[in-house]
């Protein structure tokens, strides 16, 4: 298997400057290409310098008692499991692993159903119910003289 200049460049970016740690299926081809091409060796040297710059990035070690602190805080947390409405919904999202777009869609749907419910309610107000019929039924019920089962 041979490797082109373009492939070598891409592999350098993806897998890094340590060719010996590249995936097995491309490692040998990479090493062989390096042996015969000075251009590839120059590319490798450039990548090594670039990675050295990247590793100079600022980093602060965590506090020595980080784990201890988390463990001790957790002891007091478990006992008071109080959930507000926000907490309930956030846990609901976690439970169903809903992505944000899906959550938005569900929320919009719920709001639309609510609006539709109000619209139906307002389009059929109490005043529009024929009261005469209701009264008649009530009278019939109150003054029913027939056989009661």
């Amino acid at each position: 298997m041979t490797i082109t200049l373009k492939q070598f460049k891409e592999n350098l970016l993806v897998y890094g400057a340590n060719v010996r740690e590249w995936p097995e299926d491309i490692r040998q081809a990479g090493l062989k290409a390096l042996e015969i091409s000075s251009e590839l060796r120059a590319l490798l040297a450039e990548e090594e310098r670039f990675e050295r710059v990247l590793t100079t990035r600022w980093y602060e070690e965590p506090s020595r008692d980080l784990a201890e602190r988390i463990v001790s805080v957790s002891l007091s947390k478990k006992k008071r499991v109080r959930r507000g409405l926000g907490g309930f919904f956030s846990e609901l999202v976690w439970e169903f692993s809903l992505p944000k777009p899906a959550l938005t869609a569900v929320s919009v749907l719920l709001i639309l159903v609510l609006i539709l419910g109000f619209a139906i309610g307002f389009s059929n107000p109490i005043g529009s119910v024929p009261t005469e019929g209701t009264q008649t039924d009530l009278q019939g019920f109150l003054y029913y003289e027939g056989e009661v089962l």
């Binding site: 670039f50 100079t56 506090s63 988390i70 947390k77 478990k78």
Partner: protein, 189 residues
């Protein structure tokens, strides 16, 4: 601190945590807090905030351990990376741009400080360039280059295919390389 749980793998530990074992939880925290702190620090650029994010993630795990579902998630650490990363991104969204820990103080011009200043300047520049990358490119770079995760695992954490992850890494590194060359000169890389 050996609690007797240290020989258990993550998946067995979490099963113990799901049954309410605080010792198992302590073993999990001891095993992984530094690892998850590293990725949190790389994303929020601040020690205090990174520690808070890791603490918050572990407390959520303790309060609701059944959120990790062995049927859904392949590996505990893959899932927990997502938890920590989401907390960090949420924090970054809440911050105003001015709140983001910025470049290091470069105003120290006392004699003898030049070499140190050069190193700090380089560190601040690299951090600054990484901050300017799109969120997903930053994450791909952090997971693969700084954390040394395999492309497959990083892709799983990001929820993308391996090819897409590799494309993110290539774009991130190409952009960074150009910026580093532009600011630190071709001799630096």
């Amino acid at each position: 601190m050996d609690t007797g749980f240290s020989h258990l793998d993550d998946e067995s530990l979490i099963q113990q945590i799901q049954q309410g074992s605080h010792e198992a939880f302590a073993a999990m925290v001891n095993r992984h807090s530094n690892r998850f702190y590293r990725i949190a620090y790389r994303l929020v650029f601040n020690k205090g905030d990174a520690e808070d994010m890791v603490q918050e993630a572990f407390l959520r795990l303790w309060a609701r351990p059944q959120l990790w579902n062995p049927g859904k998630q392949a590996k505990f650490t893959t899932w927990f990376y997502k938890v920590v990363i989401n907390l960090c991104f949420d924090l970054n969204k809440k911050r105003k741009p001015a709140d983001l820990p910025g470049d290091l103080e470069l105003a120290d011009r006392r004699p003898g400080q030049d070499a140190l200043l050069g190193i700090h300047q380089e560190q601040a520049l690299v951090d600054g360039f990484i901050k300017e990358l799109p969120e997903r490119q930053q994450l791909a770079l952090n997971l693969c280059f700084y954390e040394g995760l395999s492309n497959k695992e990083a892709a799983e954490i990001l929820g993308v295919k391996v090819k897409a992850l590799q494309s993110l890494i290539m774009r991130a590194k190409t952009t960074l390389k150009e910026k580093v060359k532009g600011h630190l000169g071709g001799g630096s890389i």
